[in-house]
């Protein structure tokens, strides 16, 4: 029957998407690779091919190494939390309780609110004479420079990312929990298991693929963190909260260092590419019907 459509018909349907993806994905993708081996040090209008010079400069740049370290520290701060904590919240919320939907809505709310407003709200909590330091003073801890102390700035940013992500991953876990066969729980109850044992022996093993999925997608999105940093710290103090996307942004759009920004973009691209490939080919095959 598909001969019926004529040879050109499928392409007609695909044209707008292909054109847009070409202009805003594939050409920029290859341009990034091209720019990363181009030298602009003689001015923006006299580019020269320079081989791997930009990459060497990136590797020699102490700020980049610091930024790369920060990025992985950020992942370590955010990913385990966002993989584990929302699972407990989902188990807690997957009960027949009065008003359960209200809890879902309230816990999910930070997900839909613009990250800019979330970051501003936290900046206010983090103020030197702010409410968080007041809470600390209640337990006898002296005020913390949440966003002004090099030891705490990155952690403070990570708290915002983690806080905003809970609802999102909770819903992913909730969907998976609803698909656990009820008989398995019933079998557990017959064996006299309490609810903790029930979840350890049934829910968690059943959810392992989803746990893996959440860990990779939360890692991918943590790699791309930008707005929280832009709004709260601008990467400071002393680069202590600067991560890779923010540094690329700074190099590209503030210093107009196209070559180095692109070399760093390729590093980002490779890291995210590997994570995404693992994600798509291992955990999301169904979603894409591969």
């Amino acid at each position: 029957m598909y001969k019926f459509f004529g040879k050109y018909v499928p392409y007609l349907f695909l044209v707008p998407a292909i054109v847009l993806l070409a202009v805003f994905f594939f050409i920029p993708f290859f341009r990034t690779l091209g720019l990363s081996v181009t030298d602009y040090s003689n001015g923006l209008y006299s580019p020269e091919f320079c081989g791997l010079k930009n990459y060497l400069n990136v590797l020699k740049d102490p700020v980049f190494l610091k930024v790369l370290g920060n990025t992985f520290l950020f992942l370590i701060l955010v990913v385990p939390f966002l993989t584990i904590f929302p699972l407990f919240v989902a188990i807690l919320i997957n009960q027949k309780l009065r008003g359960i939907n209200i809890y879902k809505v309230l816990i999910y709310l930070p997900v839909v609110v613009s990250i800019v407003v979330c970051a501003i709200a936290f900046k206010w909590l983090y103020a030197q004479d702010g409410i968080l330091n007041y809470f600390l003073s209640l337990i006898g801890v002296s005020p913390v420079g949440w966003l002004t102390d090099t030891r705490f700035a990155l952690i403070s940013v990570a708290i915002v990312t983690a806080w905003k992500g809970v609802g999102y991953y909770m819903i992913i876990y909730l969907a998976a929990l609803m698909s656990v066969p009820k008989e398995l729980y019933e079998a557990c109850e017959i064996d006299g298991a309490n609810s903790f044992q029930k979840h350890m022996t049934v829910s968690i093993p059943h959810l392992m693929p989803v746990i893996a999925l959440v860990s990779t997608i939360s890692a991918i999105s943590a790699m791309k963190v930008f707005a929280e940093i832009y709004v709260m710290t601008k990467g400071g103090p002393l680069n202590s909260s600067k991560t890779i996307v923010y540094y690329i942004y700074e190099r590209a759009f503030e210093n107009l260092d196209l070559g180095m920004a692109s070399a760093m973009a390729v590093v980002l691209l490779l890291i995210v590419l590997v994570m995404s490939a693992v994600n798509i080919f291992c955990f999301e095959r169904d979603k894409y019907k591969l």
Binding site: Y11, F13, F29, P110, S114, I120, S221, K287
Partner: protein
């Protein structure tokens, strides 16, 4: 059993408070008048010098209506283009055999794996070359904000999946009735995937509405600011006037809160997991 339920409620209430606390504290601050120290120790949650003055003041100094309109135009057009282009591209990928289908499929899949942040610089250079910035007019400025997000691999795959579930007999019947490919698409397939189109529309809207990185790169003219960019700008405008910054932030989230609450079943049912980007 009873005790377990009470314990669950206590935990869930605490979690809800943790989720809302930053916003509640902003609201509290935004309602405190000049006569009250917003840095008072111990902090007062209920304002003693209660006032709406900060809202009136910030509304008068910042053109929120314009930010709303800009965000609405950008998000609205982005949604419409995504619905059209994603479903159009998904149809042949789901239903037709043609040369290069496999390559195209994996090309689209590849765009999911390429982070926007890694290619944003060349995208910006292209936008400059096409004159799609706010310095060449309002329409161009909007297009520069919209076009890079006018089609998404996520949307194409979502629609493709929806088309795959429709029985082929329906198309065959339409062919017997003399429909061409375009008519089959608009009259037979699209009406059957309305729920999926709704999901795509809602999540594209939220994503576009809260996009921050791209508009903050391309926008230079304050008149073209979308909400997130405008709100971030409040920090500079009112440097340490936290009453105004708080009031402005709260004003800015009202539309999206209303949107979310009225469509909350789409978000928290768990049926569309992973639809919004994290």
């Amino acid at each position: 059993m009873k005790i377990k339920n009470i314990l669950s409620h206590i935990l869930l209430i605490s979690l809800s408070i943790l989720a809302l606390f930053p916003f509640l504290w902003l609201i509290s601050t935004s309602l405190k008048g000049g006569g009250e120290n917003i840095f008072a120790y111990p902090p007062k949650f209920i304002p003693t010098d209660f006032t709406f003055e900060n809202y009136v003041g910030v509304w008068g100094k910042v053109d929120f209506i314009r930010y709303f309109v800009n965000s609405f135009v950008v998000a609205g057009v982005t949604v419409i283009l995504n619905l059209i282009f994603s479903s159009m591209a998904a149809y042949p990928l789901a239903r037709m055999d043609f040369k290069g289908k496999k390559i195209l499929f994996f090309a689209v899949l590849a765009t999911i794996m390429i982070p926007f942040q890694a290619i944003m610089l060349p995208i910006y250079l292209i936008i400059l070359k096409l004159n799609l910035t706010d310095s060449s007019g309002v329409i161009n400025g909007y297009l520069g904000l919209i076009l890079p997000f006018a089609v998404s691999a996520f949307g194409i795959f979502l629609m493709r999946q929806a088309f795959l579930t429709i029985p082929r007999e329906l198309e065959e019947a339409a062919i017997v009735d003399g429909c061409n490919a375009f008519q089959i698409f608009t009259k037979v397939l699209l009406p059957m995937v309305k729920p999926t189109l709704a999901i795509l529309a809602i999540f594209t809207f939220i994503g576009s509405w809260s996009e921050f990185l791209w508009p903050s790169i391309v926008l230079t003219d304050e008149k073209m600011f979308t909400l997130p960019v405008g709100i971030n700008n409040l920090q500079g405008l009112f440097s340490s006037n936290w009453r105004y910054i708080a009031a402005g932030s709260i004003i800015s989230i009202i539309p999206i809160i209303v949107f979310f609450l009225s469509l909350q079943r789409y978000f928290v049912s768990g049926k569309n997991e992973g639809a919004v980007k994290g």
